[in-house]
């Protein structure tokens, strides 16, 4: 009985240690709500232009520009400019570095919640990390 309790205590301590490490490792750039929304959307839709992102996330132009610029500075997002029907158009895409950082961020969230099986029963039935396993 005592041994069992000690084992349980050790497991709890190691889970807590893992959660502590995960909290410390959370990427501050992605952790911000708007940038989190931008990264989630870009990874989900693949590629999007400025207007589409603005409509999808319901942000003002200035706010969106600031957050996209920060993500570009960090190398998480890359933009390409073109002219469509004489109008300049900027398209945004998550980079490999961005995808990896996002994956790491989600993995840390799941460690904090103690989700190791890939199935998140506490919310809606499947793990977010499993969505990121599909190759591009």
């Amino acid at each position: 009985m005592m041994e069992h309790e000690t084992e349980m205590g050790e497991t709890g301590a190691s889970e807590l240690a893992a959660a502590l490490t995960a909290v410390g490792s959370l990427d501050e750039v992605i952790h911000q709500k708007v940038r989190l929304a931008l990264m989630s959307t870009l990874i989900s839709v693949g590629e999007s232009d400025f207007t589409q992102l603005r409509d999808l996330i319901s942000l003002s132009d200035g706010n969106l520009s600031t957050h996209l610029a920060l993500l570009e500075d960090r190398g998480y997002v890359v933009s390409t400019k073109s002219v469509v029907k004489r109008k300049p158009k900027t398209r945004y895409k998550a980079t490999v570095v961005g995808r990896e950082a996002f994956r790491e961020y989600v993995r840390n969230l799941e460690i904090i919640l103690g989700i190791a099986s890939g199935v998140d029963e506490r919310t809606t039935g499947y793990s977010v990390i499993s969505l990121l396993e599909v190759p591009t």
Partner: protein, 206 residues
């Protein structure tokens, strides 16, 4: 190393909220392009038209074996028209607003549905070759039900109900093969129309 319980709960609540937020954003493109009430209604109407045509060309189920080729053509056309209608109604507008036709989640849903749909297609060819087409109705309902149940793992709860309804229809049709066409009209036809009407307000909001 000492962390108070309230702090730990705060981390967990925040992590859970962020995961829910990410999932919601990542689900949005797929839900928008997958669950359209109108395309469900159109698919149901096309299936009903397919049933009416099948009835006309065969008159009674038991004679399908003599008109197998027409049968396959009719139902291939039904599937084709339903897919084209779905593309025109939901996928194209979704793409116009920057939503991909097949998001990551959509990709996973597609992969989940493929084995059951492939089995259904393969068995159709097998039954056709062996002139046993009347038995294909329950097989369609069962394999389609399996595909919908597989997709339900990534979808709102009502999708599972739709899958279970198809499985139930399949079992009944297997027991009463004489009424296979009738059950096809009820499940693929009226079932899709009812489902389309029921889900349309929520789905179309997105």
């Amino acid at each position: 190393m000492a962390v108070s319980e309230p702090t730990q709960h705060k981390w967990e609540a925040e992590a859970q909220e962020n995961l829910r937020f990410i999932r919601e954003l990542m689900d949005r493109p797929t839900r928008h392009s997958t669950f359209s009430g109108l395309s469900g209604v159109v698919a149901g109407c096309t299936a009903l038209a397919g049933c009416a045509l099948t009835y006309r060309i065969t008159l009674v189920d038991a004679e399908i074996r003599r008109s197998g080729f027409q049968f396959v053509i009719v139902w291939a056309a039904v599937v084709f028209i339903a897919l084209i209608a779905d593309f025109l109604i939901t996928k194209r507008p979704a793409a116009r607003v920057g939503k991909v036709l097949l998001s990551r989640l959509g990709h996973q849903m597609f992969l989940a549905a493929v084995p059951a749909l492939f089995t259904g297609g393969l068995l159709t060819l097998f039954f056709w070759q062996h002139q046993l087409l009347p038995w294909i109705y329950p097989v369609w309902m069962l394999t389609y039900g399996c595909a919908v149940c597989s997709v339900a793992a990534f979808s709102p709860a009502h999708v599972r109900l739709l899958g279970c309804a198809f499985l139930a229809f399949g079992v009944v049709a297997l027991v009463m093969p004489r009424y296979g066409l009738l059950f096809t009209a009820l499940s693929f036809g009226l079932g899709h129309i009812t489902y389309g009407i029921l889900v349309s307000p929520g789905a179309d909001e997105e």
